[in-house]
Amino acid sequence: MKRAESWQTAEIPGPKKALTPKTPETIALFIKRAKRPLIVAGSECIKLEVNGERYIDYIIKIAKTGNIPVVATAHTVKSFLEKGIREIFSMSAMEVADRLRDPEWKGFDGKGQYDLVLFAGMKYYFEWLILSGLKHFAPHLKTVSLDKYYQPHASWSFPNLPDKEWRETLLKIAEKLKT
């Protein structure tokens, strides 16, 4: 049985914990329902492998199929550019988080604040803290962690997943976004 508990043992969040979606399709549904979704891709997505393939490639797949804008944090943008992705924004993780908490922010395209933000590929504790900041100070946002480890400060996060299951989950999300 999967237990929704923090990956790093000591990271105990408090009373409000992320819900774990029953199926990957649920996340796809949330994305489809969102008016202004955004993917925040961290630097670990160029290091991490999903069952032998780069995490960044899965993020690109989800972004493309769901037509979701991506902001790459730190120097991650370079890897997106090298992969020929031109529709990419670049901003540091702290700056993105700071803007996401501001309901008046106009977004990267000037059309307004986002309503669903999907986080992928940051160091566990680093993403944990950003999600906590947003949980407390950005009530207008819903957040999702696409990572393999449970992030309790998100609105929704997978439980800690084995690599194979994580890969299938990401692929299913991408697949469902197509339809």
Binding site: A10, G14, K16, K78, E82, D98
Partner: protein, 781 residues
């Protein structure tokens, strides 16, 4: 200035006003003015006196809080759930609670340095007298720039430092009291107090360092301070080894004194970890440095120390047990770190040594540094031949056999701060392959949480050290010993190019060794920016880390670059308490180059630094509460600080918003006109996710509104070049930093002009920038 307690008692006095009988007058302190600068507006500022300045900073650099958890559990009303706008039983909301925690951390940090300074000054006064002069070195007239700036005092002797310490202790008490239930309720006011804690922390550190420099004759503002040996491999195992750990150096100094006085200096090795090691090599370059504080466990388990002496701060708190495992006598020497040991301070040395050597006591508390010196040396000489360097690092065979007991529960990985694949490495070791374990060594911060979590009780940290034993033993480096202050004469040379921007920046690599990706990144950043002609200043564990990597010619950055405060200089100022020399250099630029009064003139000098001096602090492995207070001292002075990924756990950033032009206006002091100057510097406290991000951000944060066009062009060159190299594109905010066409780097002109055109860029003016209306010389009608 000196402290003069006056007590006057008159039995009977006949005056024009009448006859006074049994008149008693008591005056605690008379301030005697003895130096040329006029007293500024804020001597000995209270906790609210600089609040207006803080609010200017905090209105531009707004706090972004990232709570560790949803709760407050500081009083018995609680636990209180503060999630998403809820208030606790005391009325506090999450923002205020987070800023309260930051204040607590900074109070702990400041109290630690101030307590350190108090103990040190008391000891030095007892040993060398109250009238021992303060001497920061030849060519240093402004001996205590931070103290002068904050208090208005120019300390001349050790007794003057006591007055300053009285003030600092008073302020810490007030600040700490603000965190009590039902006191401060505003997050912004908490933040202002955080900045105050940082400011007094800087003074406390400065007091400690100028006292020890003056009395112990450390290198005095010496760019050619000696190169000292660093690394686990530099210790001569054939000799008795005394290991000193901590920050407050008198016990270690007395060990060196005993060795020197008894012609034993070449017979016994004295090696240290963390700032005690820094300061001991400043006292005698014959001492050796093992490395940053997090190396303590691996070195102890290697069995090399015959006696372990700890003082205070950042000392691993279970070392008494680790010492016992390797049968090394343990000596605690600080009131702040007694470890439950029997106080033997008044016992005869012979008895203490005999008890330690015969194992009747595994550890003792000795609060007399001279006695520590004699006991440690005599015990080491007697214990060493018996111990034969007894170690607890297992043999390869033991590692392999132990690894077979792994239960594959993954608890080691889940406990590791860096999420290192410990379990996978252990499983490889079970098959006889120790290479994956050895690979963990570089990124292991030495906390041993993996061991605590291991369900099979495997000594996992020792396994890692064993696997990397060859590398561990070959760690031999050179680091320049802490030089202390920057000379006034050096400031005269570089003040103008720094303020005009022609030296692109001063970068201080400071703080602890809690690195997310190993320490190599620090050495790489130091090298990159030294090559680019920035001035690099180092201190504390970061100074050591910078020395732990060699270039192709086998040189560390201290061998490769000069120790001058000049372009491409890499200078180690010393230990944690030497950090104010870095702030002091910025303050002295305002005084010496710009002729600003610094005496008790905090706000004006901080305004000068924020707008004109391209300085950035980088605490890539910041871990402690002291690091938090050190950083906040820099923020109040207008110096931005970047931390590494683990620094996000400080839970609060101070971030600017470049997309809000209204935040980036200053007064032109020449006319009073408000002028847009762009986001320079953009942030005050910032966590970078990667080394690459930090490097780009460092270059950007060095820009200041006052840069000349030539200076801005140089700074932009580095920013754009690094961005292209590391991000693969030109930055998307150049238009915010180009004020006139003359700011554009010549080699990039066409590309940048095209970009500016696309952005609809318009030229702006370069003002004489200030945030303080009182500094406007002529108001616009």
């Amino acid at each position: 200035m000196s402290r003069k307690e006056l007590y006057l008692k008159v039995k009977e006095a006949a005056t024009k006003l009448g006859v006074f009988k049994d008149l008693e007058i008591a005056i605690d302190r008379i301030l005697v003015e003895e130096y040329e600068e006029p007293m500024g507006p804020t001597p000995f500022p209270s906790i609210t006196e600089l609040r207006n300045w803080d609010f200017k900073l905090l209105n531009r650099y707004r706090p972004f809080y990232m709570p560790f958890c949803d709760l407050c559990c500081l009083c018995t009303f609680g636990k209180c759930d503060l999630t998403q706008g809820k208030r606790g039983a005391c009325g506090l909301d999450m923002a205020a609670q987070q800023s309260r925690i930051v204040l607590l951390a900074c109070c702990i940090g400041a109290a630690t340095h101030i307590g350190h300074a108090r103990h040190l000054v008391e000891h030095l006064i007892e040993r060398y007298g109250r009238d021992h002069p303060i001497d920061a070195g030849e060519g240093v007239d402004i001996e205590a720039p931070v103290t002068r700036l904050v208090t208005g005092i120019r300390p001349r002797t050790l007794k003057d430092l006591e007055i300053v310490l009285d003030y600092l202790e008073n302020q810490v008490t007030h600040l700490l009291s603000c965190t009590h239930t039902g006191q401060e309720g505003s997050s912004i006011d908490f933040e202002s107090k955080v900045l105050h804690a940082g400011m007094i922390d800087q003074v406390g550190m400065e007091i400690a360092d100028i006292a020890q420099i003056s009395v112990y004759n450390f290198p005095k503002a010496d760019p050619n301070a000696p190169l000292v040996e660093l690394g686990a491999g530099v210790v001569d195992k054939s000799k008795p080894v005394i290991l000193v750990i901590g920050h407050n150096v008198p016990p270690a100094v007395e060990i060196a004194n005993y060795l020197m006085n008894n012609d034993l200096m070449g017979e016994v090795e004295v090696a240290g970890l963390c700032c005690t090691a820094h300061d001991l090599t400043r006292y005698t370059p014959k001492a050796k440095i093992i490395g940053p504080i997090s190396w303590q466990l691996r070195f102890i388990r290697s069995g090399l120390p015959d006696v372990i002496v700890v003082d205070e701060q950042c000392v691993r708190t279970n070392l008494i047990f680790e010492a016992k495992k390797i049968k090394a006598p343990f000596i605690a020497t600080s009131e702040k770190n007694c470890q439950g040991l029997r106080d033997r301070s008044r016992d005869p040395v012979d008895e203490i040594v005999a008890d330690l050597v015969n194992g009747r006591e595994t550890g003792v508390l000795i609060l007399n540094p001279e006695k520590v010196g004699e006991v440690a040396v005599r015990a080491a000489l007697k214990v060493a031949p018996r111990r034969a360097k007894f170690k607890v690092i297992p043999d390869v065979k033991d590692v392999i056999e132990g690894a077979k007991k792994c239960r594959k529960c993954r608890e080691c990985i889940r406990a590791c701060p860096n999420n290192l694949p410990v379990m996978q490495a252990v499983n490889e070791a079970a098959n006889g392959n120790l290479a994956p374990l050895a690979q963990l060594y570089e990124n292991c911060i030495g906390c041993a949480r993996c061991e605590s979590a291991c369900q099979a009780d495997l000594p996992l940290h020792s396994y890692i050290v064993k696997a990397a034993e060859k590398r561990f033993k070959e760690e031999k480096f050179k680091m320049r010993s802490g030089r202390g202050a920057v000379k006034d004469t050096e400031i005269r040379t570089v003040g103008q190019p720094i303020v005009f921007g022609e030296i692109p920046g001063v970068i201080a690599f400071v703080g602890c060794a809690n690195y997310a990706n190993g320490g190599k990144e620090v050495a790489e950043m130091v090298d990159e920016f030294a090559k680019r002609r920035y001035i690099i200043v180092t201190s504390g564990c970061a100074a050591m880390t910078a020395a732990m990597y060699k270039d192709e010619e086998g040189k560390t950055v201290y061998e490769k670059y000069s120790g001058d405060f000049d372009a491409s200089g890499v200078l180690n100022v010393g230990s944690c308490v030497s950090n104010p020399h870095i702030a002091g250099a910025a303050i002295k630029i305002a005084r010496i180059f710009a002729k600003r009064n610094l005496r008790a003139n905090y706000e004006e000098i901080a305004d000068y630094i924020l707008n004109r001096i391209g300085a950035v602090g980088v605490a890539w492995g910041a871990m402690s509460q002291k690091a938090a207070s050190i950083a906040s001292g820099f923020w109040r002075l207008g110096v931005p600080v970047i931390v590494g990924p683990h620094g996000s756990k400080y839970r609060r950033m101070l971030l600017g918003r470049k997309d809000k032009p209204e935040d980036w206006y200053v007064y032109n002091a020449r006319t009073g006109e408000k002028v847009y100057v762009g986001p320079a510097p953009e942030h005050l406290f910032y966590v970078a996710e990667t080394k690459e991000e930090a490097m780009v951000e460092i270059a950007k944060l060095c820009m200041r509104p006052n840069d000349t066009t030539k200076g801005r062009a140089i700074k932009l060159t580095h920013y754009i070049d690094l961005h292209k190299k590391l991000y693969g594109s030109i930055p998307d905010d150049i238009h915010l930093f180009v004020r006139t066409k003359a700011d554009i780097p010549l080699t990039m002109k066409d590309e940048i002009l095209a970009y500016l055109k696309e952005k609809g860029w318009k030229e702006t003016m370069i003002p004489d920038p200030t945030l303080l209306p009182r500094l406007i010389r002529e108001k616009v009608e």
